[in-house]
Symmetry: none
Subunit: 197 residues, 4 copies
DNA sequence: GAATAATCGAGACGGTACGTCTCGTCTTTCC
DNA sequence: GGAAAGACGAGACGTACCGTCTCGATTATTC
């Protein structure tokens, strides 16, 4: 399983590119960072970026995947509300504060709207992220904490939807408080639907 | 209340610009429509666009506001589930099909992520839309259909969040079915939260 | 004497730009040629033009310098009248006929009046052209064909002045006939000025 | 002999336009003055300018004609050198100093190169100006001060050509000194052409 | 240890959209 | 009906970024 002759890909360059991309996005926002900026700041030729990634968005997506997978654990507190609160809290924490990944995620979502081709790859990434939340909810249904007729997929859309909605518009904060409130509200969907008298 | 001398703003040009903008966005998608395209198609000088709007996004935002207010009524069926289903259905209907406003809204949300200044104006528009949904929910609380301790703002974020989330990612359809499911789920929040034993 | 890293300037693009510029100016006139036209016709990006030249005028100036130095030789017939006739004839020939450089030079002179900054660069070019004529006259003074108290600079202004004046106004032709007449008139300045009695 | 109904052309506006045009051109240069500038500065509607003149250049041309005819007399000192010196001196004086008409004339000549239609009208104006100089020279031929075989038209081109050449390029001053030198050089063309020995 | 091959930083290239500017015309209100 | 005010259609300008291509230098493998 030889790799053939030729110079090997520079891991140093790869790391510099990903790190610089996140750093610049955090400080300037997606729209104010160009590929030339990233290349210059990383001390790298522009072709080195395009050799390994299709576009700026793909660089950023990989950078996000790196950071996110490193920070968010899958909780198991024994109950749905605890699980949800823990999961949402740690997710939201990565999106708050000046060093947050909020700018990165907002930029990616924007790019997915403008670039059909990238949208597919972004969607795939997002689907992966849904898995954790979905498994929490499925577990809750099994434990009887959620009514069996609750549509889990829709619930996932509502929870992640609320997160993205606040993230993209910035009209309300995403913090521990919001995580707890979302978890609490979700747990009220426990009982079968109230019957009309 | 005189307007002083000088030629009046051409309502004809305004309408042509807004109509052409929506038309082109529907058929080509936000990223494939340029300001020159709009100007040419509307038979208008480019300066006439920039005289009244700051950017392509602002044109599109006004066009959307026009269309949306014309197509989406505020329902009053007497009950929360009916109201919600009606409101979400008509909203989703405007976002479905090949002639839908989905491309318009996705483009605007994307632009709001890339252009700090436009984001403010977009947020203001969105706040307006939230008002309608919020009023439905507040009315339901008053009628006792929703528990009084439900956080209405958060519920609005979950409902509109789910909509935007599906709209932006396109992983699941937005139709009558989804509207009904969201309404049903919401109506489970009838009783005050069960106390811990 | 290294040139450093990076892709070299494309000589092919440079030639295409200069050739297209002269070609378009000849057929359409300076005012009817845009930078976009030149770029499109030369199969070149607009930025490639602005990377190497400050403006349309500078492109055209370099194109003119190319053509002029290639077509107009410095004569040496042994006598002033022959030299002058030859020099002016070949100069005027380049300015006559439908394929002439007249439009190019008129456009440049016009631009020099409208653009302070370009004026400097144009003046420098013109000074160079004056050098050739001046050297012919200085040689004639040395040979005794012109009186030693003739102000050579002023004579250059009168000869080139007459040329530009006809070129810019177009009220009289610039041809072999005019060249000979100018040469003949100049050769009358043989003897020192007659003293007042 | 009524002039029909309607408001009469405002002489006040006409003067304001011409004066402002010259004033702005003097201080900013032709290329940095727009029609809107002139209208605003003159306190006049733009249409009032276009109602009476075809273009900015025509306004400026009329303004120049006003000023020039008021300042330059036709001299008669009894001899060619005196006449020429006087005529050129007073002409050059109007072109020197910060309050000069140089910017006006340079701008007009530039515009004549870019606007075919205006060129005709400008040429007509220039032809008129040639009359005075031509008459001086014809008178000199009649008095025997110039050889009868001297081509007067060509001489006019050389004298005015030298002036315009210096005016447009600014490489040498146009003043009393230059006027005298041009006159002196012209007067050396007196004698019939020197015969070859 | 020379030849071959892929990568690297640098930066020019073709292309495209942007937002600004000016022109000369058209429209409205006031006198 | 002329005038000031100012919006309009048209279209060139110069800038910014994208993603590709070219250059000479720098590693790795293969013969």
């Amino acid at each position: 399983m030889s790799t053939g002759p030729g110079r090997k890909r520079s891991e140093e360059a790869r790391r510099a590119i990903l790190d610089v991309a996140v750093e610049l996005l955090r400080t300037r926002g997606y729209g104010n960072v160009t590929v030339d900026d990233i290349a210059a700041q990383a001390g790298v030729g522009k072709q080195t970026i395009y050799r390994w990634w299709r576009s700026k968005a793909d660089v950023v997506l990989e950078a996000l995947a790196d950071h996110a997978s490193a920070t968010i654990p899958v909780p198991d507190t024994g109950g749905l509300e605890g699980d949800l609160t823990a999961f949402l809290s740690s997710t939201f924490r990565a999106l708050s504060g000046p060093q947050s990944l909020a700018a990165v995620m907002r930029g990616l979502m924007a790019q997915a709207q403008l670039d059909e081709e990238f949208a597919d790859r972004f969607r795939t990434y997002i689907e992966g992220r849904r898995g954790v939340l979905r498994s929490l909810l499925v577990r809750a249904v099994a434990r009887g904490e959620l009514a069996p007729d609750v549509e889990v997929e829709l619930l996932v859309d509502m929870l992640f939807g609320a997160m993205w909605y606040r993230l993209l518009l910035g009209h309300a904060p995403l913090g521990r408080r919001a995580a707890a409130a979302l978890a609490a509200l979700t747990c009220r969907l426990t009982s079968p639907r109230a019957l009309e008298p």
